[in-house]
C-alpha cells in the first residue's frame, strides 16, 4: 500500500490502498516538531498503512 502526499495521482492510476503522507519533503516525517513527536507521527502513519492492509 502507498503513503503519499499527492493523492490524486495515486488514485488516478488505480492505487487501491492509500494513506495521505505528511508533505512532499518528508512524507513520513515532520521537520517542524521535536524528534520525539516526529517519531510518533511516523508511527501513526505507518500504523494507518498497516491497518489498511488488514481490510
Amino acid at each position: 500500500m502507498q503513503i503519499t502526499a499527492a493523492l490524486p495521482v495515486a488514485k488516478m492510476v488505480g492505487a487501491n490502498r492509500l494513506v495521505l503522507g505528511n508533505g512532499i519533503v518528508h512524507v513520513v516525517g515532520d521537520a517542524k516538531v521535536s524528534a520525539e513527536d516526529e517519531k510518533k507521527l511516523r508511527r501513526k502513519l505507518v500504523e494507518q498503512a498497516l491497518a489498511a492492509m488488514q481490510k
Binding site: 502507498q2 488505480g14 519533503v25 512524507v27 516525517g29 521537520a31 508511527r43
Partner: protein, 345 residues
Amino acid sequence: MRIVHYLNQFFGGLGGEEHAGTALETRVGAVGPGKVLEQYFGGECQVMTTLICGDNYAVENQDAVIDLALEQIRVAKADLFVAGPCFLAGRYGMAAGALCVAVQNKLHIPAITAMAAENPGADLNREFMYIVDSGDNGAKMREVLARMAALAQKLMRGESIGSPGVEGYLSRGLIRDQFVERSAGQRLVDMVLKKFKGEAFESEMSPTQFASVPLPPAIDLASAKVMLVTDGGLVPKGNPDKIQGSAATRWGVYSIKDCQDLKGADYEISHGGYDPQFVRQDPDRLVPLDVMRDLEREGVIGHLHEEFISTSGLSNPLSNTRRMGREMAVRAKELGIDAIILTST
C-alpha cells in the same frame, strides 16, 4: 484584456527548491515569463497580477491556494488566467491544472496552462481544459508562451479550436463529431490500404489503457513479512546502481540488515523533484525504518525484510514505471513478501 498569471517559486524569481514551501504571494504586473507572454498578445493584453506560490505549498494546501487565487483573479477583473508553463515539474503542473479548472468552473473565464505530456498534472486535468504541450525542454519557453497566447486568444474570442496536433495542446481524450468529405466506406478502404502498405495512417479512434488493479486480499499482520519500497530516490552514498534522478529506468535493492535507524551520512537522494534536505537529515522521514523496527520488535508485524527497494518517480513515464513496478513485484513474490509499504514524495 486583463490577465492573471500563476508561477511557481522558481519561475516567479523567489529561488529554487528551498523556497518550495512558500505560501501564495501577489505581485502587481508581469513577472519573468509573464513579460514575454504579454509580448505575444501584441499589446492587446496585460498581466495585471502575478501569483507566485511554492510548489510544495500549492500541493499540500491546494484548496486554500485555489480560494485565494480565485479571489485575486476576481479582484483583478481578469479576462484570462494563465498558469505556467510547467514543463515536467509535477507539483507545479498539478497546481496549475487544478487552478485553471477551478477558474473555468467558478469564474467562467478562459484558463490555459502548458506542461509536458508526462506531467502528472496533465493526466489529471487534460479532460477539463486545454493544456498546451510544452514538451520537457525549458529552453523552448518562448515558443511555448507563443502557442499559449495563440490558443488563449482563440478561447477569449470564442473561436472554434482545432485538433490537438494543429493547435499544439495535449489531447483531452474527448470526442466530437464532424462532417467530412469522404464517406466512411471510402475512409475504410483508404485506411486499410495504408495499413497494408505499412504507411502511416490516422485511426479515428483508439482504445484507452488504464486497467484496474485487482485488490489483493487482506493479510494477517502479526505473521506478515513486510518490505519497504520508495520512489523518493533514496540510495546509498555514491549511488552504486546509478539510478537516474529523473525518468529512472532502474531500481535498486539496499540492505538494512541489522539496521535500526537510517543515518543521513550513509545515503544520498537521486531525485530532482523535491528539496532533499529533510530526508538527508533523517532518511527515516522517507523510508520509515525506525518505526518498522519498533513494530517488528513489538510483534505487530511478523518480520521486516532486510532490504528496501528504491527508485526515483520523478517525471517517469508509465512505460518505465509499469515495467519497474512489475519487476519489483516479481522480486517481492520470490522473497515471499506478504505486504509492501510504498512511500512516495
